[in-house]
Amino acid sequence: MTAEHVLFFVFGAVSLIGAISVISFRHPIYSALSLIVTFFAQAGLFVLLGAHFVAAVQVIVYAGAIMVLFLFVIMLLNLGTLSAKSALKGKLKGLAVVLGVLLAIQGVYIAMTAGTDTALESAQASTEVVTTYKIGELLFSKYLLPFEVTSLILLAALIGVIVLVKRENQAEN
C-alpha cells in the first residue's frame, strides 16, 4: 500500500458516499452540499493524477461558482416543501435501480478490461505533474478554435439567461 493507494481509496470512498447522498437526501440543500463534498474529493483525485490546475479549477468553478448558484436558486424558490413527494415510488423505482445496477456492472466491466487495451498497455504512465504553462500553451495553439467556440457558448448562455429573465419582468409589469 503506497500513499497513493490510501489517498485514492479515501477520496474515492468520500466521492462515492457523497454521490449516493446526492440522490438519497430528501432536501435539495443537503443534496447540494453532498455534491460539493463529491466535487472536493474529485479535486483530490485530480491532484493524485498530477492534474493540479484542473483540481484548482474544479474547486473554483464547481464548488465556488456553480454550486453557489444551485444553493441560491434552492433558497430563492424555497424548495424544501416540494421534496417530500419528489421521488419515484414502487415498481418504477425498482426498475430504475435494476437498470442502474446493470449499467454499473457494464461500466465496471469495461473499465476493468480497459487496462488490457493495447494502446493503454503499451503506454508508460507518466508520473510528472502537468504544469499550468503547458496547459496554456496547448490551449492557445492546438485547441485555439475550441477555446474560442467555448467563449461563444458562454456568451450565448449569458444572452440566453438575460432574455429568459427579461421576458419574465415585462410580463409581470
Binding site: E4, H5, V22, L48, L69, L77, A157
Partner: protein, 103 residues
C-alpha cells in the same frame, strides 16, 4: 509504482451510474440537474486518468476537462434560469407535473 488506470475508471463508472440513477429516480428538477453535473464530473475523471496513463507529454485530456467545465457552467446558468421561470409559472419543479408545452 503508481495506481493503475482501471481503479480510476471503475470509480468514474460508478459515479456515472449514480448520476444516471439519480436522474431516473428523483423527480425534483434541481436534483436531476445536480445528477447531470455528477455525470459530467465522472467523465472528467476518466479523461484525466486516461490522459495520464497514455503517457503522452501533452495534457490533452485535461483540456477536455477544461472545456467540459466551461460548457457545464453555461448549462447551469441557462438551466437554473429555466427552472426559475418554470417555477414562477407552475409553482412546482416536479418534472412529472411540468408536462405541457403551453405555459
Amino acid at each position: 509504482m503508481s495506481l493503475g488506470v482501471e481503479y480510476y475508471l471503475v470509480l468514474s463508472a460508478l459515479l456515472f451510474t449514480i448520476g444516471v440513477l439519480g436522474v431516473l429516480i428523483r423527480r425534483n428538477a434541481i436534483i436531476i440537474f445536480m445528477c447531470i453535473e455528477l455525470m459530467l464530473n465522472a467523465a472528467n475523471l476518466a479523461f484525466v486518468a486516461i490522459n495520464r496513463s497514455l503517457g503522452s507529454s501533452d495534457p490533452d485530456g485535461q483540456l477536455f476537462v477544461f472545456f467540459v467545465m466551461a460548457v457545464a457552467a453555461a448549462e447551469v446558468a441557462i438551466g437554473l434560469a429555466i427552472i426559475v421561470s418554470v417555477f414562477k409559472h407552475k409553482k412546482t419543479i416536479n418534472v412529472d407535473e411540468v408536462n405541457s408545452l403551453k405555459g
